[in-house]
Symmetry: C2
Amino acid sequence: MTGSATEPAEPSELVERLSQALGSGAVLTGEDIEARSCDPFTHLPPASPALLRPRSTDEVAAILAQCHAAGQPVVIHGGRTGVAGGAIASASELVVSLERMNRIIEVDPIGGTMTVEAGVAIEAVQDAAAAHGLFYPIDLGSKGTATVGGTIATNAGGNRVIRWGMTRQNILGLEVVLADGTVLDLLNRFIKNNTGYDLKQLFIGSEGTLGVVCKAVLRLVPGPTSQNVALVSLDSFAKVVELLGRARGLPQLSAFEVMWQDYYAIVSGDPARRLVDPAAAFYVLVEAMGYDEENDRDAFTGLLEQAFEDGLVVDAVIASSGKQAEDIWRVREGSEILVREMGPFISFDISVDIRRADEFVVAVRAALADAFDACRSVAFGHLGDSNIHIGVHVGPDTRERTHEIEACVYGVLRDFGGALTAEHGIGTLKRDFLPEHVSPAALATMRQVRRALDPDNLVNRHVMFES
Amino acid sequence: MTGSATEPAEPSELVERLSQALGSGAVLTGEDIEARSCDPFTHLPPASPALLRPRSTDEVAAILAQCHAAGQPVVIHGGRTGVAGGAIASASELVVSLERMNRIIEVDPIGGTMTVEAGVAIEAVQDAAAAHGLFYPIDLGSKGTATVGGTIATNAGGNRVIRWGMTRQNILGLEVVLADGTVLDLLNRFIKNNTGYDLKQLFIGSEGTLGVVCKAVLRLVPGPTSQNVALVSLDSFAKVVELLGRARGLPQLSAFEVMWQDYYAIVSGDPARRLVDPAAAFYVLVEAMGYDEENDRDAFTGLLEQAFEDGLVVDAVIASSGKQAEDIWRVREGSEILVREMGPFISFDISVDIRRADEFVVAVRAALADAFDACRSVAFGHLGDSNIHIGVHVGPDTRERTHEIEACVYGVLRDFGGALTAEHGIGTLKRDFLPEHVSPAALATMRQVRRALDPDNLVNRHVMFES
């Protein structure tokens, strides 16, 4: 089964050997594991007998080589903030956590690159970039905990994709350990490099199923010196689309976040978040980040004034300070209010044709109303990137009815030709739906690639699809 | 050898069958093939017995399925403007040309996408985008002939990578036919889509060795409404780097093209191209494209005035019309003058650490001077992307001594940790150097991927590496 010449070892014997090789503190067991969570919603701990904490690429390679020789499956842990269940670990799997590989190795201000270990947190990267007047554009609510490795594995998105792209677009190079312990040096630092296949693309977004990212070269951009943020309300989706078309004309446009009325109705229950009148059908957070305070401000306010004059916008508030900009962003980041007011909900992360996004939301609501007696939903998201999030609550047993709710929403999604996951990934939680959302030939090709790189299916074996 | 159940057919019998299936005009032989060129430098025609011209993805699939069943290797042709020998076809290979698949299928101005067949020329894409006020940023000297499929296969770069990225960054979806004729529908239109492995990344930049790109969804950006271009001269490389650092602060920066003195000395022999005094050590073309004519102009001239005041820049000319902008670009695109003045030369396309680019050029010149009695070289390139081109002439027998010259330059390149090819690709001409410029583990992984997708090695089998 392992293709290896040595005898499969018992997990405990293997753990013992790894423990000796890695030194004290490297291997956690028992209570130390149970105190951890694999998932920010369920807080499920790993069921694994041991958790390994390597301090270097060589140690990761040694662990994977020994696990490979023993036919021992592993699950890789970054910051464990992912919401698709990619970090869930069973009793038959060992966990390998990159948490002690969190060094920032080098910043190159001229080339605009930063080389880091995979376990470093996104916020630490942002801070290190800022110290050089530079900026790492990937920005997530969980940035204090989410790691570079985890965001690469999941090709994380976030709020500023419209301007700077997904994680993929911000990665120049990787160092990866394959399932058999082979170290792959793909630490490219160049914008342009066509020297053979760009293998790093394979690992970005493959959710740890093809290898373990140990180091990365990140692309940095000059640190923006201006930030303009506004919250506007609009009375039709056609006007939202028209505003988006105009906003794309701002090269500084860094976010275009839409909230449907149902979302804003809940979040604006908090007076600090009731920044515009909550009677309109749609709310949009527009942000532009640039390098010329005066001109950027003029261009931004010009856009909004013209939209107001043309009757596109009902109401608007423009931040006149960094504090007010944060207040506006807090409207968009109201998930703790949703949890409190709605109770348990199932969260969706889909992409759909921008022009049909409202039609899709309406169709989802109709399908949910048909299928469930009591249903409440909220819609919001990164419309400029075609990415909508929907939260659905069907009563106190919402979690137990997850699969029913998902089947309902994904059924509508298929009719609209939408994407099953925009930025969160497949993980273990959406795995069963993947075959309905990619073609059989595409799924077969994914399996071929996985078999080519991890023929024994040892790394994150339950993630994305069962091999 | 083919893994197929049917008997291998004789090429002529197979061609006869394909000819009947595809209809008249689809299959070229004899003189019609000999009139074609596989390579813009050598004008070598394909040695193939036949060239097939499918009109649809289904026809490509039928051709590849039949060739697969017969164990017949094929070479794929786009616009045949590549300079790495990727289109060279031997007598044992059939050519499949995408030239009749050149439809623009749809433009979506709200999503900012265009769906096209692979055989459409880049310039036709640019024109169709412009008709909607949109812009396809990939821009090459050969844009009138280079096709979307060819630029995807080679992950083409060009002049505006510093702003909008390589071809990879501008592709949202693909339709690909695998070596066995399987059609892979990866026609994603979303900026964010993490539904399984992003398989399209495999095909972009793999130079046709993993499958045939038949359709693509391109990402469009709003059409810039301002263009500012300047040519400046500087007296040290340190000042070039300083100017680059400052220019990166312009979000509109769309090109930063450097020419060493040796390049400008030749090109400025043409009086129409002698726009600044040719006595300086370095010449830089700076371009910014934006959406606000007045502010963009102010920011651009402000940058250059400050650089002048600070003694960074010796001389400068700023275009005050579209015509003058073209004149400045013509300085950078002086390759026909190089050919005329230098005679035959070998062209290099490498990436190197920006901070060490001049040190690298100096080291290459020293190594060439040691190795060759008479040597002339010119250096220029997309410095903002780390990408330098060097043209080397060692006498009338320059072409015959290609391998010697390459060995000399690539030897220096290895010491500098540079990339063997930045934007042109490996093709057949740089194939022998690939193993020295990627790690054995990386090369082995590339072969694994190739074997997984084309186990019989039937598509572009001599490109990139011999399987």
